[in-house]
Amino acid sequence: MIVRVMSEGQYRVDGGLVSQLEAMDQHLLEAVHRGDEDAYHRHLREALNLVRQGASVPAHELVNSDLVLPGADMTLRDARRLLEEHPE
């Protein structure tokens, strides 16, 4: 599975990590709804660390991403605004 970290690059991540990432994704969303800044940054950091364990996609390879993660510097406020601007 290819995962992009915004403003950073793509990683080739073991498909077996999908369920772990999905669980983190849920925690992340809950943290955004609660407005819990600490939890938000902790879960985002966990997800990014997991993805970064994968191999970085080399510069000469052109592939699509299956999942896109915000960069480490995305604030809770930005994340909330994003969700409001693009309702499901």
Partner: protein, 236 residues
Amino acid sequence: MGLMSRMSTIFKAKVSKSLDSMEDPRETLDYSYQRQLEQLQQVRRGVADVVTSKKRIELQAAKLDEQIHQWEDDAKAAVAQNRDDLAREALSRKQAANDQLEGLHTQLADLEKEEAKLVDLEHKLSAKVDAFRTQKEVIKAKYSAAEATVHIGEAASGLSEEMADIGLAMQRAQDKTESMQARAQAIDELVNSGALNDPTVSSGDALRDELNKMKTGKTVDDELARLKAESGQTAS
């Protein structure tokens, strides 16, 4: 849907689908490559613009710093002439501008990081465009139209993703430089007109503004006492 999955959907919507309608992609490969080179040029200009804006803001900050020192000198002169009222005014302008300038320096440090990221992304994009050039030659030489569609589709949208990513990063850096320019401008007005309640530098919270004003007042008293002590006068 979680945050990342939503993010993925939003991001992918920004990725161009321009190659979908192509009948024989082999014919348009060179054109696509030309477009990519143009976009890469635009990205390079964009990065250069961010660098220029940052330098301009740095110069403005340095100039403001000088003006703030000037207020300090003015306050000293006022104290020497026993004009506490003037000294107080000079010191409060100095203090208010100083607080704002500190904020600007923090933002500048932040922009510095953003700039480094943009330069890195630009290098990556450049390598990807080059990879596309190689792939297009292989595809033109080896594949039929139908096969080429499959092979080029992923390469083109992979590159398009890269463009979308750098485009968003660029937008963010530009928004930041704009807000910093506005801030530098507001400080400039603050220093020159003494409009301490300038709404453009308000925190947006009346209580916070009031507390800041109180703190500034206290600092002004302390600073005045310091200047008086330095000039051998006793604080009143």
